[in-house]
Amino acid sequence: MTADKAKIARQFIQTIPHSKALGMEITALGDGMAEITMPYDERFIGDPKTRVIHGGAVSALMDTCGGAAVMSHPDAPAGTATIDLRIDYMRAATPGQAITARAEVYHITRSVAFVRATACDDDTDRPVATATGAFTVEGR
């Protein structure tokens, strides 16, 4: 990926109000690949008894990461929108730990990008969630 495109993608993602509200930060960006981390925050707790983060916040992280992977693909000239996203929750994320999602575009056509993503906490051998999604390829 060209330095310019990486810079644009990074800037664009970091100006998304909701991604900012969830404290998301891009930790890696490549051709059709993105890695974004979201810190543990008590405001995102979904189950007050276990203090585990709500699945909705994980969905937002997966969706942002999938979109970022599409935008950073060399064959995707401009923006993208999610067509569908399926998330499998493998286990509860450990309270107190950040969640990092990594998404890759595994196939792209003129109009659709197919994305896979995995989210982990500190124990990177056992993913918290995995996702697959279809995204639009816009601007051509």
């Binding site: 100006t15 998304i16 109000p17 909701h18 991604s19 900012k20 509200a21 969830l22 008590e42 405001r43 995102f44 707790i45 979904g46 189950d47 007050p48 008894k49 983060i53 709500h54 699945g55 909705g56 916040a57 969905s59 937002a60 992280l61 997966m62 969706d63 942002t64 979109g67 923006g79 929108a81 999610t82 067509i83 569908d84 996203l85 399926r86 998330i87 499998d88 929750y89 509860a92």
Partner: protein, 172 residues
């Protein structure tokens, strides 16, 4: 046969609203997102009050896809928990005061969640309702739909599966 006199309306409303407030108000993420619930009898409608921080595409502008997914998931979890406690709530088996004091029932766990985006979410309030299509002892299936201006034109729909909390009495 002597029929029991119906409960006074304010007692019924107070009990149901207190239980719902405890269920919803106890979850920090629901407050963070600005989601509330409208209740008509046992029917719940999720209300997502628009705020700038919910934007995902500042150029259009449109609500973040993750916000839409989260809104549907919150609506599905609350609708399922609500249906799960309803009978005990109405029979008096559930202690509403203990509930309000933070002794919440264990929540269903999401197994998987699929969201379809039908049109972009506009920068204004959104509403959602969930239908429980299977309420098993261990597994439940829920469908949810979100709309803004026109209920017949939903902007997103979701299907989710949940693992139900084991009831205290059950041994299997």
């Amino acid at each position: 046969m002597v029929r029991k006199a119906p409960e006074p309306v304010q007692i019924v409303k107070q009990r149901r609203d207190a239980a719902l407030n405890a269920l919803v108000g106890g979850v920090p993420y629901i407050n963070f997102m600005g989601i509330s619930f409208d209740r008509r009898g046992d029917e719940l409608t999720g209300v997502l009050s628009f705020e700038e921080k919910l934007i995902g595409n500042p150029i259009l502008p449109a609500i973040h896809g993750g916000v839409t997914a989260a809104f549907l998931e919150v609506t599905a979890v609350i609708a399922l928990s609500w249906a799960y406690i309803w009978e005990d709530l109405e029979s008096g088996a559930l202690d509403v005061e203990a509930l309000a004091a933070g002794n919440l029932p264990r929540l269903p766990k999401t197994i998987d969640f699929t969201v379809d985006y039908l049109r972009s979410g506009l920068p204004r309030d959104a509403y959602a309702r969930a239908t429980i299509t299977r309420a098993g002892r261990r597994y439940a299936s829920v469908q949810a739909e979100a709309w803004q201006d026109n209920k017949d034109r939903p902007f997103a729909q979701a299907t989710a599966h949940f693992l139900m909390p084991r009831s205290e009495q059950a041994h299997d």
